[in-house]
Amino acid sequence: MDIPAGYTVNEEVTKRKAVVRPVNERIARLRTESVRTPVTISAERAKLITEFYKSGAAEGLPMPVQRAMAFQYLMERVSLPIEEGQLLVGLRGAGPQEAPTYPEICAHSIEDLQILHSREKMPYRVDEKTVKLYSDQLIPYWKGRTIRESLMDSLPQAWHDAYEAGIWTEFMEQRAPGHTAGGERIFKTGVLDLKEEINRKLAVLRSDDPQYNDKRAELKAMDIAADAIIIYARRYAEKLDRIAEPEADPARKAELTAMASICRKVPARAPETFHEALQHYWFVHVGVIYETNPWDSLSPGRIDQHLEPFLTKDTAAGKLTGEQAKELLQALWIKINNQPAVPKVGVTAEESFTYNDFCKINVGGLKKDGSDGVNEISYLVLEALDEIRTLQPNTALLFSNKNPERLLRKALKVVAPGFGEPPFFNCDGVIVKMLRQGKTLEDARTSGVSGCVESGAFGQEAYILSGYFNLPKILEITLNNGIDPRSGKQLGLKTGDPTRFKSFTELWEAFVSQAKHFMEIKMKGNDLIEEIYARQLPVPFVSLWIDDCVENARDYNSGGARYNTQYLQLVGLGSVVFSLSALKFHIFDRQNTTMSELLEALGQNFAGQHEMLRQLMLNKTPRFGEDDDYADQIAIDIVDIAVKLIESHPPSPVRKASKRAYFLPTTVHVYFGKITGPTPDGRKAGEPVSEGISPVQGSDRKGIAAVLRSVAKCDWDKTGGALLNQKLTPDLLEGAENNKKVARLIRTFFNMGGHHIQFNVVSTELLREALARPADFQDLMVRVAGYSDYFVNLPRGLQEEIIARTIHA
């Protein structure tokens, strides 16, 4: 007999609180420190890097060498914090939750610092000393020398106009290219092995090679960067010995001594134990995020497969218990959570409004040979997530039809209490995407997802996201014959007065022409920016770890990776499909209204008498997400045309990167909504546009099965990925029967071609209470886009947008 459960907000809160249960007291303490420490800006890195550049030590040397020397300068001097009781060392900044700055990329102004310090949501504390350092030394020195200035100065006026109009955002204006995920190289190779590889390569470099100088400089730079990380580890070893010496607790003393000897071994030599492997990875991680401020920090890749040999060996030798393995893994999770995203300001803050730095842990999927890749670590990772529940890292469940369903079901149990993690990814679909892009079968199988939902060949690909592209704004401009109504400027093409359009096809063609026009400006800008990064900001340290940068003697930012891709992320699919469906249905098919009438209503933001028309559009339109072919066909066409337009651009000149389409939003749909006027779907000016590929918030009234079928009609295999949010009532994931049903729902969605799905399991009542009494709900974590975040820390518009998403019961 089953008795349907009733739900109250209190029960929901109690249930959520009860799930946080770190493996032991040590981890619990570290977690508390990690979660409670406020985020602060650390000026140490900025100060050191400025000192280095001012010293003139690298003047005249090739840029990669300059960068490598700067990196070494840092590694020789940065603080060496050790959190009380931690088992792993290495941290960016002088303690947990410190975020350094990267003035060579983006030098913050005093005003920036003040905003960061005082903004209500997502603040970064800035002390007086830092402000003084910025005003006396950093700002004067970096003025005119930063990447941000270089790229903003080089981009044409048309680019700036569109950027200011909110047609797109620019990923590269405050942060370096990233989205990097490691492959097996990170876990199987010591830095000394890399040095050998570099020297072998140097030895065979031919002086008649037209790129001899560049290659030689890059290899030299990689060699310096390799030394630098060894220096950092040695400094830690020495420090650990120093603090072990007076340590009174014999157990801790032994731990510190053991940690010191691990730091003498890795990352110089390849790890041999589980503990060494985690420390090894973590040194690489810290190195990458000290070198630059790359988007999405670094991800350890297919961690279950990479770690499995170490776990098996240690366990067999009796050197490691399951409990210890879990403790170490959770210690790493805390480390990741201790590194907030670097401070973002302006549009960049709007598009990615979170402390989350998107280190993504993939579990599940296939092995290189095509067999099931799930192992004990896959489950340990899910348990770590379940017990720790920190903001970071993000976990991705990569599910293949060859994986046991038990993994999926276990993951759903982790989702049930409502923190939004883990999201689910179609592994077999990722493989198809990678194969379509020309990756080998083996490389496709070891691919995964990083950032939010981005597919990439782990350890082998530089897949750089370039910015978000505002589809509803393109429609707005189309309906205004190329003019942006906000500024009155003619930004787009003159595609014709829409009141003269005789058919939906004419409107569609105008829309496509505008999209094409703006994409061209953006994609040309991308190529230009890519050149600036290649020239001014090589990353010899990252390049050590990504195939085949050493082999090609070419930097990650210059196309050294085996695969190179450039992405444009499209936003507002749901809004634009709903809008086009409304135009097609009410104006051209049913003639319920006319284009002039609609344009007038839009011009007045549906005020007064126009409310009737707004209601008609909103309520009486065939909608995307309701399994209605009328609307879904428009979605299919948009995905197809977007892919076609983007892929028609030639590979980038420097990296030879192919151009691809993504559909994901992070938090940009709120910003895009703010600067986009009213849309024909009944959305008023300033309201958020739809997020990811989800239907317009609240418009999917036929249930989750209809949403999934609508979504799966589009050909996502031609994209890099697409983000789908769904909100479920808590009882839908309660009990073994429902767990199984939702598992089968996910499998079916993937078999139909879906790429990703994630669930917010939270009641609307709870969210409303949290909105009203934020102080009482500080730890309420919810799903945002490709990550979870604390609800109270989200900007108000985003909070309301999450509440508005349809809840499926």
Partner: protein, 294 residues
Amino acid sequence: MANSGLIFDIQRFAVHEGPGIRTTVFMKGCPLGCWWCHNPEGITAQAELAFFEYSCIHCRSCAAVCPQGAIDFANEIFQQDRQRCTGCGLCAGACPTGARRIAGRVITLDQLMGEIERDTLLYDSSDGGVTFSGGEPLSQPRFLESALQKCKERGLHTALDTSGYAPADFFASLMGCVDLFLYDLKLADENDHIHYTGVSNKLIKQNLRALDDAGRGGDLILRIPVIPGITDTEKNIAGLRELVASLKRFRQIVLLPYHDVCEKYDRLGRTYEMPTCDAPTPRAVEDIRDAFLK
């Protein structure tokens, strides 16, 4: 063979109406009139107007199109003459906000199968299928039979959510194309049954026995609504226990606790006859469960 019927909803990804992931078809019309009925839009056998007042923006588009003059906005107060309303639906078509909707639409068998088959992949992956609910699906015997047969032809698992109130011969003829009966048991005593549902339970008991005799005990889930003061009395539980005990085969029982659906009645312009009461506490439901387990 009737190739069209009257339904008031189709719910996809239904997880409470039988095994696996299902699509539930809500058929309109019911010979019973249970006081607590939680699907009042399923009771009458005609399309009828449901009015969601909170969505009304007083635009009067409805009044302008109503051929019966059943809608009035005199003195800015919305008034609806339910007596005159024929459920024609013109107002729902004209209403821009969706405040006026028609409960009940005619659907052809082909259309219905088209809707059902949208989720074939979900049924396949979860051992799910189709559930016919209502209303009382048996009140549209020919359409129900055709739909069930079509589902069986397509290899779909079928469930029938029923009060069991139907002529015995027709009920018997359906058994072959229903994989699972979700059979409501409300009140054991005939007089009580007449009092609270408007009909005798003789046929219901007879059809239940027929199912049992046919050896379909394994394909039977008994569903008992827990209605405070009505079905949860000691006397009724004892009576139902006795009835259940007299069945030959093992069967599953699901308790469905009462919840207030007053709002649904307001929308239809009807009065909710059920006396005000709270939903049963989980404890009370557990006690009843224990009574059956004894």
